[in-house]
Every structure is written in structure tokens, then in C-alpha cells.
Symmetry: D2
Subunit: 325 residues, 4 copies
């Protein structure tokens, strides 16, 4: 399915693996400040708003963002939450935001998670689809800035906002279940394991890396959450942009989906279509794809952010191999 | 530590992750046919031999290969086997090959695993170090061609040659232990799991990828063996060079070591310094490094293979990021 | 902590392991029909009610039941639910039942789980302790008859009643979390595992019983829930009383706590103090203790059930060993 | 299959679970000192030897012991080792002992493991079956006294004697594999787990007994070995006979096979037919059966050990329930 993560060195980094069996045709998309956002059930329009950059499927001229970051460093990624996501009919006393409008609504107006919490408190997430051809995606969201992360889940019993101290999100089950399950892994360590089994027996650390024995290695959403949490919480690197971006992609690599390991009932394989890493402080969107391991970078600030027109860079799928000789 | 793997599409691919806490200074090295190999305890010299390409540390003018492939498609990788590797004193009736000479000895003369088996049968692997500064590495080897793989282990009780139907090698324990342990994972599947627990209970496949729950996710050598075996045996891709190479690197990615997840007692972290993939049919050596995700390619056949001088391409460590805008 | 389970052959059986570091002094206790139950916050008294049998600590003349069964075959066991249980202040519009009164309240009046559900719907579970010396136990309950089981949990957000298709209860986490976690084990089987890993590799079922590899073996409440569920759902036996009771104790044995395996922070060990099995149809209460493996049986119907006085049989702790020669 | 274990308090205890789908008709059997043992390929006869007690199938008048202890406190149990056990043709220079003669040969003559090692060093274990109807059992053995245990395995490449510091034996794989696998569990503990995952995350020990999360709970021989090792190495009890025997049976209970959890290909279930515990110092053989949980005790020293006739006590299968009222 998907995994999103955060990473803080000198700057703040936010990104995700998008895991699926096919691509809708994704584009790194910059929405400048004066691109007008209209909302289906809201009178308010966002004709001037924070600029944002992220990966989107462009439907007509509308950016359906999978993940994006605004110029203030607020970050959101939507991840599959099938079977648990539930959206509501519009109601009079709330800000009725359609599910597909969530990212523009929050990134357009909020400079921080704190501000996003306030908008969410007044929000009703509605079940209005973008179009007949693009039905409702069942999603939940990781919303982060450099100081905190939250998980937003719209379920039958309403909107839930959870503190997310891990800064990682995958898919099912609901977030409290994911966090609870981490307790079962608290003894895992990057360091050499100690013998607590029996002082009378001679144990041997026959390999490096034995301290994390018990860490799950499969591609289910619960196992990816635990593994990404372990990798992210223990990750370390230098503070430079290159070192930080490099390390961020390695965090995502720990939960990458290889072709062949996740067979769907339709006979197709789910793979990691793209991995992204956005420098939320500088507005640089880096990505790789399954077949193009070289990192590509799109700079938000290299574009005219006062424009009212989307800037679109279709994803580069083809491998770029450096021939040495 | 390390993981080596093979992959067959139209061509045959062989490569490895080299996991360690520092690099000796590695170079993609082509040894042409007339580079003279002298052997410490053998009168025979290899003054004309098969050309080979691989990753090596060059000591003086001598290529200490970590992994290499010759022009006939025979492939060898040496991987740490600490605590179990044992080499012998030279003996009169055998071909006394020093541990560091193994790759030149076999790749210089053998066109296939079958031929390598014959040389190994006459061989005594000796404990003569390359130099005082480069003491004996404790290794075992994966030796492969497109039809079969074997594991070679020199232990106290002598040389062992094992059929390796998986085409994967990591480190400890000895290979029969690794293969035995796979039995405990036979029920793992890339497909959706079936309910065998109880027909009376309603189970839910809440996520894709649940069929491999139980697959270990840590970095110990046993867990990497199982995980790489699962990924490799289920891997699939198109037959083109690009698709094959891409998929091969994804197999290695499944057992990549991220910085922070394997803390050594000296306070350093073991990481995947480089990953390699050699097209054994065409003699193209591809690699990536921890910080340079872009694939670099060195072509053996672009060099003068009748030469007697090593061709050396120091590894490119620095990230090459493609700036889009 | 504790594990409760149900088992249906010809008759219906219900029982539990009580796991703790010391015993309060337990007695198999029969409460006849005319023993008067007064309730702290209810005007209603139960002066005539269903008779019940179970294990209790008798405080004064009051039976604080851990688990009990009434003459209609309704069964309840209370199990630790520390950190999650929350009881309320009395409220006007509800039946205010103190936590320690729950078992008498339900078993005294209900002939079935269906009837218990009705009482629970009108009930407020209050935080009134039995006495200063016996503070509130943090519990949740398994309530069963031969047709269905439910789990009752009183948490901060109120009373929860969950269908329990497994007929097993342990301790934390809340029941929906326990049930969800079972999904991760659906592929476990009592039968020989099949090879889904790779058709190209030769796997060996080197042992019987390999189909359930992955089943957790530790004593945490989540692992005991999964293991007891697997054992119970796959358990089979003849229908006779002896065979049924024997098999029931074996289900409980699968989650028994051995002295030494669960070390508390006070230096004591938690062990299975007693295991019980009640034939809910015939009112026979069987039990064993940690040191007395022989089954003892107390028959409710051998007592005068029209009495108003508790019948008490202190638990037999001492081993009864049959000397053959 | 089976599990054997040792336990030392004031006295030394030795016993086993015998797991199988049917019983041959087992009897607690005392072989007095003058019962004559003839050997198929040895001229030497044991007409006067140490007395022994254990569980046997009596074929004709010959005790085919599954497990036994002699009057000096030497203990042996044979456990299935299917697919790995290999016996030899008789050879001239060795003591040729048929597989079924091993227990009488060693227990008849040796007062200690040390003495048994000497006999084993001169021994050739032969492939002569007891009779046509009782073909060769494929076994390996746990041989113990109060100071040490060894594992004896006869394989294609000859007899292996391994120190067994755990004092536990199950079945496949060969003993070095079993011991090696323990390394992967060294961090398991009876105590509360510590957080090594991340100091920045709040973990909760939601249950007692979480320190051993990762301990396998299935019935495969490898999982039983690990679980029995953990339980045995951490077991503790008082030194009295009752406490010691009680605790020993609890060690065996941790690897008991419940009916329903191990389904064979013939449709039958493998269960723990009997569990035994022998006080090796006093010659008292205790046992329970699947349906008879009460411990029965047979005293070797209550019989005339100078006799030449087997003393036989058929196993008591029927439950003995203590009726309280």
C-alpha cells in the first residue's frame, strides 16, 4: 500500500512510498499562490493561499495531491485506509470539505500543524467525489511540520486526530492499533543483543544486527509500520542536504515493495511506484521511481509562485544509468 | 555484513550488497587476459587467462576482488564468514591457493561452475595472508553461472561445496544451517493468506501483502538470507536489460542496511556501502553506493581485454541528483 | 495474568486459568437460591435468585467470585484489565451495579447471554469498592452460554459489549485489538504446512506440527489470547464427561504460566494458581492447582440449593500423588 | 514428537513427554539387577547389572525402554530423530550394540555420563531390528546425570556426542542446529522488557510476561526445543520432593501437545501420551497421561532389585477425579 515518514536533521524532510499496481500518471505539481481553489460545499474560496509542491494526478486543471508540502513547511500525505475510512454528508454548522479537497484546504491556509488542528476542529470531511470517474479514495493522512506530526482519520464515528510521535504512517489498522502494536517490539535494538535468556548458557552473537531479531519483514501495513518506525527512529546521518536526502530515501527503502512479493488477486503485483522526499524548509521535492533510482529534484522556489497556473513536471520513469566507460 | 544474489531473465545477473562500517577504497576493476597472476604456493602462473570485471581493493597492483565475473559468465562473491572460516597450511598433493587468490584462480581458468568444481576438488585453501597489513579475511563464497550456484566454505574440517538452489548467500551460520532454516518459512507467500486457523472465525485480510507475515525484517545474517531468498525466488520482471537490472537492485534493496539499524560495539554503524549487479553474459558491472543511488555502469568489453594492465574506475560515492527545473 | 475459555461437546464447559503471584485464599463456593444479595446502590434485592457455583474469595459472608456458573448454564469470568478498566459514579437513570456485584447481579437473574445483554443495557458499572481493604479490581468479563459468548468492558467512554466468537478472553489490550490481531495468524494450521515460498526450492517438513509456526509462545496477554484461540478452535475430543473435561484442561494448559517464566518487578513470579472447568449444564466445578494436578470436582446439585447459606470448599492445594507400589 | 528435560533442585529429576498418535501399550518397568540382558552382536552378557526403572513397551519379556534411569542416577531418553538417524552394520573392532539395546547397555553398566562417554567411544550402533514386527526406530538420545547432559546422535557420518548444557532434547534437526538456533532468542527474558527501540517513544508494558515476546508457541520440534529450554533454564521451585516434581511437570507442560493442534496426514492427532518425571537419586518414576492428570508414582526401591524378573506396572490411563462433595 503506502508508507509516509518524516526526518529531521538541520532541515525537515517529509515523504512517502506510493505502493500500487499501476500509476494514474503522476506529476510533480507546484500550485502557485494565486491558483484559485473552489470548494464544492464551501462559499469560501482560496484565491490567494500558500504555494505548495507535491505529487499529484491532474484531473482537468485540478491537482489531486497524493502528498504535498506548502511554503511554510506544513506537509500532508494521504494513504490508503480501505474499509475504515468513512466520509459524511455535508452538515450546516461545519466547514464541509470534500475528501479530495483536504490537502488544498489545509496547505492553502495553515502554516503549522497547530493551525491545521484548528481547521480540522471545524471541519466535516464529506463524501462528495471529484467526479463520477474518480470515486472517493479511502484515505487517512499524516500531517507534519518540523515540530510535530498528527494522524487524521475519518471513520464512521467521526474525525479522529491523533498525536503521531513516530512520524510514520502506513495503512490499516486504525492508528491507535498501530501504535499499540509497537509496544510488542520495545526490546528491539540496533545494538548487539544481551543475554537475558539464561546466564548458564553460552550464547553467541554470530552476526551483526541481531538486536532487532523479531522485526517483521513482510509487506503488510502493520509490519511496514513497525519496520519503518524502527528504521526512522534509529536513523542517523549528517545534516547536509545530500546526506539528509540520502538517509531519508534509505528509511523509505526499508519498506519498499519489490515486484513479486505482493501478489494481488487480479494477478498483478503491487510495487513501490515512487518514493518522495521533500525538504519542507526549502520546498525541494525529490523523488525516485521503481525503475529510475536516480533522484530527481524539483524546486518550488525556481518557479513564479505569484502565478495562477499549475506548474507540472511529469514523473521521469525511465532509468538514467551513468555510463562510466 | 553482506548479501549476494543471482537473477536470471534473458541474461544472467549476479551481484551483492557489501555491508560494512567503512570502505577500503573500492574500484571497479577489469583484469585483462594478459595481466599475470602469480600464486604464492603454486608454480603454475596464469599469464593468459579469462578476463574478469568486479569490485576490488587494489593492493599495490594486485586486485583483491570482493566479487567478480569473468568473460565466460562465471561469477564469484566472497562474503564474511567470521568464526567459521578456517584455512590450512599448504600441503604437497593439492593446489595450494591462498584465500585471497581464490577469485583469480577460479575466474582465470573456469568457464562454468562445473569447471570450478573440478578445480576446487584439487584445491587446498591456504592461510597465507596477502601481506602483514592485510590479514586473512574470513570468507565463504557464492559461485554461480547461469545454470547453477554453489557455496564454498573452508572450515576446520576442510572444504565444503554445497549446491545452492536459492542463489543467495549471506554470512553465518554455515550454509546447511541457513538452508535448513528456510523450511520454517515454506508457508510464506506473496499471495493473500488463506484461513487455516479456524473455519468458524471471520478473518479479514486488512492489508495487501499479508501472505508473508512471519518473514524476518532485521539485519542479522540469517534473517537477511531468508528475506533475500523470498524476494529473489518470487522476483519477476521483464527481460530487457533495464528491467532486469532494475529488478536485481530491488532484490538487494530488500536486505539493504540502513544507517542507524546496525550499531557496532565500536559505536559505528554498518551500512550497505555498495550494491552491485553484473550482467554476466555481457560483462557489464552496475553499481550504486549508499549515497549515490544512480546506477553507474562499467563495460568490460569497452576495454582492451588483451592488455596486461588493470583498468580501474574508482567508485563514485557522491550523489548525482537530476535537477528538473 | 489470566485466560478464560469455553468448550462445547455434548455439554458446555467454561473455565479459566487464574494467574497471579499469590492467592487471596480461594474457595469453591456455592451460593444457593435464597442467599440474599443486597446491592450498594440499588433498592432491588435478590433474595431469591438462580443458584451459582464458582471460585470466590469470601469477604465476611460475601462471595467475591472470580468466575462462576449459574444453574441455567450462564457463565461469567472476570479477568484483569489493568489500565483500561474504568468505572463510573452512580447515575439516576441506570441500574447502578458496583464492579464487585456484577457476577451476582447477572448470574442471579439471567438464564442466558441474551438476558444478560438486556440487563447490561440498563446497567451502570460503578466505582464503589467492596471495602477499604479490597479496592476496585480492574477487570473485564467473559460472559458465555452454550450458544454464544460476549466480552464486557467498562472503559472511560462507557460500557462495551462485544460478540466474542472465539470464546476466549485474556487481559489487555481491549477486546477489539485482540480480535484484530488474530487476522495476522489466519494462515496458521494444525496440519502440515504447504510450500508457498517457491516451487523451485525443495522444502522439508522435518517435524510434525510445523503448520502453526509463528504462533507466539510467551506469556503476554496478547500472545496467550492468540495461542488459546488457536488451541480452543482446533481442540477436539470425545463427548463423554471425562474426555470433555480432560480436553478442556489441556486447552488451558496451552497458556499455563510456569514458575520462573514471568518475573515481576517485586521479584515474585506470576504462576497459574488454579485452572477451572465448569460443566455449565450439570453444575460441576472441576479445578486443579499449580501443585495439585489431580482434578477435584464440586457438584452444585449435591447441595441444598434452597438454602440461604453459602457452601464453601477451600481449594485443595496439596498434591495428591497416587502411589502405585 | 517428544521432549525430554532435566531439572536439579536438591535431587536430580529427568523425564519426558512422549508425543505420538497412538500408544504401543506402555508399562512402568523395573529391570532388577539379575535380569539377564543378551546382546545380538556381542558375546558379553549383562547377567548382573545396575537396576533400572523407566517406561517401556515389553516385547516378549524384553523391555524396550523409551526412557529409563538406573540406580546410580544415570538417565536416558530416546526421542524420534526421523530422517537423520542412521545405524551401521556390525564391525569387528567395536562394541556392536543394536539400536534397541542402547539403554540396557549403558544403564546396565554406567554410573555416570562420564562412564557412558567411555562406552560410547567404543560402540557401534547397529541396524539390527528387534524383530520383523518392530523395525528400527529412528532415535537420538538425551543422556544425563546430575552433573551433565549429552546428546547422542547416530548419523550417516557416524556417532556424535554433544555436550548438552540445556538439558533439553526434542527431535529434528540435529542437535548442533538446535543449539545454534537458541542464539536468536538470547534477548528473551522472564522479566519486564526494556525499551531499546527508541528513547523518544513512550512504550507501555501493557501486560506481565512481555519479556519473552518472540518465544515460539507452535509444536514443531525446533519451537519446542526453544520453548522448553526457556522454561527449564528459568524454572524455579522449592527443593522438596513435591515442589520439585510439581515444577518438573510444569516444564513439560510448556511443550505439551494438545489434541487438535497437530494434525497428521493420516487424519490422526499427535498428543502427549504421557509425561514422566523420574527422581534419579531415589529411583521414583512419576508419570501422568493425557487423560489422567493425577501423578502416579512407582518406586524402584520398593521392589526386590536382586530379582531376575521384570516388574511391570501398566500405565493408568483413566482419569482419577477427586470428588469433593
Amino acid at each position: 500500500m503506502c508508507t509516509a515518514a518524516t526526518y529531521l536533521t538541520g532541515d525537515f524532510y517529509f515523504g512517502r512510498n506510493l505502493d500500487y499496481e499501476f500509476s494514474y500518471g503522476d506529476e510533480v505539481t507546484i500550485t502557485p499562490r494565486n491558483y484559485p481553489f473552489h470548494f464544492r460545499s464551501l462559499e469560501k474560496e482560496l484565491t490567494a493561499h500558500y504555494a505548495m509542491i507535491g505529487m499529484a494526478y491532474i484531473a482537468g486543471d485540478y491537482p489531486l495531491y497524493y502528498d504535498a508540502v506548502n511554503e511554510k513547511g506544513l506537509c500532508i500525505a494521504g494513504l490508503n485506509f480501505v474499509g475504515n475510512a468513512a466520509y459524511q454528508e455535508p452538515v450546516p454548522e461545519k466547514d464541509n470539505v470534500a475528501q479530495f479537497e483536504l490537502i488544498p484546504w489545509l496547505l492553502g491556509q495553515c502554516a503549522s500543524v497547530k493551525e491545521a488542528r484548528e481547521l480540522i476542529a471545524r471541519m466535516n470531511l464529506t463524501n462528495i467525489p471529484f467526479s463520477e470517474k474518480l470515486p472517493l479514495a479511502q484515505l487517512h493522512w499524516l500531517i507534519s511540520d518540523r515540530t510535530e506530526s498528527i494522524t487524521l482519520e475519518a471513520m464512521k464515528d467521526g474525525l479522529h486526530v491523533y498525536d503521531n510521535p513516530v512520524g510514520v504512517l502506513t495503512n490499516n489498522p486504525p492508528f491507535p492499533y498501530q501504535m499499540f502494536q509497537l509496544n510488542n517490539y520495545m526490546q528491539l535494538s540496533p545494538a548487539t543483543p544481551e543475554n537475558h535468556f539464561s546466564k548458564e548458557l553460552p550464547f553467541k552473537t554470530y552476526s551483526r544486527g541481531m538486536g532487532a531479531i523479531g522485526l517483521p519483514g513482510d509487506l503488510s501495513s502493520q509490519s511496514r509500520f513497525i519496520r519503518a518506525a524502527f528504521t526512522k527512529m534509529n536513523a542517523c546521518s549528517g545534516d547536509s542536504e545530500e546526506e539528509s536526502v540520502s538517509q531519508f530515501f534509505h528509511i523509505l527503502t526499508s519498506v519498499e515493495q519489490q515486484r513479486g512479493c505482493c501478489l494481488l488477486e487480479n494477478g498483478k503485483y503491487e510495487i513501490t511506484l515512487y518514493s518522495s522526499c521533500c525538504n519542507a524548509d526549502k520546498g525541494i521535492y525529490y523523488y525516485t521511481t521503481y525503475d529510475n533510482r536516480q533522484i530527481s529534484a524539483v524546486y518550488m522556489n525556481h518557479e513564479d509562485l505569484e502565478s495562477s497556473t499549475l506548474v507540472r513536471y511529469p514523473i521521469i520513469q525511465k532509468a538514467s544509468i551513468h555510463t562510466v566507460n
